[in-house]
């Protein structure tokens, strides 16, 4: 029998749930796997330790898996993501101050991202007129949907996200503190940090990520392509263990048990985790809640199966925001990063087609349907010319 001991890196976030439950609830052991979960503090560490072989697999931002495979921003290490750990789960949170400014300038209901994007553009304009500092938003990594979702939303309101606002990378545990201190005016981050900000009374959730895009691959299980070729048995076992764990996480009856398991690893309040898994979040310090069964998708709605459309979408964002050139070769490499075949082989058979899901697989709140084969057309729809390199504008 081949070596079935695995070392897997993760960042303490709710979408590591399938991984944590697979290990702590024994689904991995039942597949003959001994898994050591290693908690990490930065995506850079996770990526590098995966790249150089210190980890066999890792909980990783979907766009990082693609960036590594394309060799942009860093060493090129071909990665594949044979299991999708979570769809959605992000939210955009703003300071009470910015929320008040947005309310004052809104031409409708702020829970509509079209309205909020226009209101934000007005706030940006108004600040420019009176010579105030541009608004600053936190996100977690240059290659992340937190970055892309913020930009997508802002650009829909007519904001040039390189010129009119500042986007800064902040480690998730620093987000809340940075919002409280006024270092940032808002942020886009995954669960549980938006809720932590609301509970601390320093933030108001403006949008769930799924209001910007209905279906986005947020985190994947990533392995080196070479490792995957050399360890088929272990990988198939891991995919099965994760699929069982994701099913377990998804069952409403298990939420309390899952939250208790997660709380031990994440060191946050289990009640908050239950609300997160249920997609029922307190969005304002006054206790207002908002609910969406799409807030975070783990296991259900075909969330676990790798989807090349999602890879193409992430690549399109990478291109849109000037991180890589557009080419058919790169798109084809990117799509190969999310292969459904290993998943299908490990679990036997293909899954039933998805009803109730966006017809283009993404469901962005504005713009035409996304066609993976026509990224140029998709980008042209935004009429935002990105000539040359992105401008550096950081730091106060």
């Amino acid at each position: 029998m081949s070596e079935m001991k695995l070392r897997i890196g993760y960042i303490p976030l709710v979408d590591a749930a399938a991984l944590i439950v697979a290990v702590d609830r024994g689904f991995a052991a039942a597949e003959g796997l001994t898994v050591e979960l290693v908690r990490e503090v930065s995506w850079s560490n996770v990526r590098d330790k995966l790249n150089i072989g210190l980890f066999d697999a890792a909980h990783l931002l979907s766009p990082v898996a693609i960036a590594s495979s394309l060799g942009i921003g860093h060493v090129r290490v071909p990665i594949i993501a044979p299991f999708n750990l979570g769809l959605n789960g992000n939210a955009i949170t703003v300071s009470p101050r910015l929320y008040a400014d947005l309310s004052a300038l809104a031409d409708g209901d702020l829970s509509d991202p079209k309205v909020s994007a226009r209101a934000l553009a007005r706030v940006v304009e108004e600040r420019k007129t009176r010579g105030a500092d541009p608004l600053t938003f936190g996100m977690t990594f240059p290659f992340s949907h937190h970055n892309y979702q913020l930009r997508f939303w802002m650009a829909a309101g007519g904001i040039d996200t390189d010129e009119h606002v500042r986007l800064v990378v902040l480690p998730p545990p620093y987000m809340v503190e940075s919002l409280a201190s006024g270092h940032v005016d808002g942020f886009c981050v995954g669960a549980p940090w938006n809720s932590v900000a609301v509970d601390a009374g320093v933030g108001r959730i403006l949008h769930f990520g799924c209001e910007i895009m209905a279906r986005v691959s947020e985190k994947v299980l990533a392995v080196r392509e070479s490792w995957s070729n050399d360890n088929r048995t272990a990988l198939a076992a891991l995919i099965r263990a994760l699929a069982r764990a994701a099913e377990f996480v998804d069952a409403p009856n298990n939420r309390a048990a899952v939250a208790a398991m997660m709380a031990r690893r994440l060191l946050v309040d289990p009640d908050l985790l239950v609300r997160t898994l249920a997609g029922n979040l307190k969005i304002a310090p006054d206790g207002t809640t908002r609910e969406s069964d799409r807030y975070i998708l783990i296991g259900r709605h075909g969330a676990s199966r790798p989807d090349p459309v999602q890879a193409a979408w992430a690549y399109a964002q990478i291109v849109r925001w000037g991180q890589a050139p557009l080419s058919e070769d790169l798109r084809s490499i990117a799509q190969g990063v999310f292969p459904p075949d290993l998943y299908d082989a490990a679990l036997g058979g293909s899954p039933p087609p998805l009803e109730c899901e966006p017809r283009d697989g993404i469901g962005a709140f504005v713009g035409p349907d996304f066609l993976p084969g026509d990224i140029a057309g998709h980008l042209a729809a935004w009429q935002l010319k990105r000539a040359g390199r992105p401008r550096l504008s950081i730091v106060r």
Binding site: V41, I52, V169, L170, P171, P390, R396
Partner: protein, 215 residues
């Protein structure tokens, strides 16, 4: 305030310094939340002839500090979440001096492994010859490892102190219960440990547990 960095051409580190040694002009930034380890590292670098060494402990204005400093080499503790912030800087600052992670050069995987094991990473401005930074990295690795050893020794010293306390308390229990002298109580613990092939502290702990139960 926002600042857009302009290319500062190659001024600074190209010029020979009065000390004669070219590397003393290298600007090195240390990003480490452990002040003791950072101090140990800075000492080592200064001993090795690098005079321009700066420590950055505060993460809040990390990027501003790094920009102001404009270092040639950035050494960062791998346990610092700030690494992701630096990555953004390297993404965006295509201006002139764009530091790259040491992981980019895969030709020396042994030294990369050693560095990661020691818990340190380096970002190096493109164009610096590899030999020039090899000794910096080696020095980092040995200082980081030395710090880890110190930490381990401290932990084991603390552990020894704890064991000492347990044994002393067990001796006290035996002296009282069996009317023994201190030497006799210790001899009894030691003899029992030898007979049962266990450590004295384990027997002492059993005595304390038993005493607690019989209270």
């Amino acid at each position: 305030m926002a600042e857009t960095r302009k290319g500062s051409d190659s001024s600074g580190h190209g010029a020979p310094s009065p000390g004669g040694q070219r590397d003393s002009t290298l600007k090195i930034a240390i990003v480490d939340e452990s002040p003791i380890r950072a101090a140990i590292l800075e000492d080592g670098l200064r001993e090795a002839g690098f005079t321009q060494v700066e420590r950055i402990a505060e993460t809040r204005n990390l990027l501003a500090r790094v920009y102001a400093l404009d270092p040639d080499v950035i050494l960062i503790d791998l346990e610092s979440p700030s690494r992701d912030m630096l990555e953004q800087m390297f993404q965006m600052s295509r201006a002139v001096k764009r530091p790259i992670a040491m992981f980019v050069d895969q030709s020396d995987s042994a030294s990369i492994q050693a560095a990661v094991d020691a818990g340190v990473s380096a970002y190096i401005v493109g164009g610096l010859r590899k030999e020039r930074i090899t000794n910096i990295l080696d020095l980092c690795i040995s200082r980081f490892n030395a710090f880890a050893r110190l930490q381990a020794e401290l932990d084991s010293a603390k552990g020894a102190l704890e064991e000492r306390k347990v044994i002393d308390r067990a001796k006290g229990v035996l002296m009282k219960a069996k009317k023994l002298s201190e030497e006799e109580a210790y001899a009894l613990l030691r003899k029992t440990a030898m007979n049962e092939n266990k450590k004295i502290v384990e027997i002492a702990q059993s005595v304390l547990t038993a005493a607690e139960l019989l209270k």
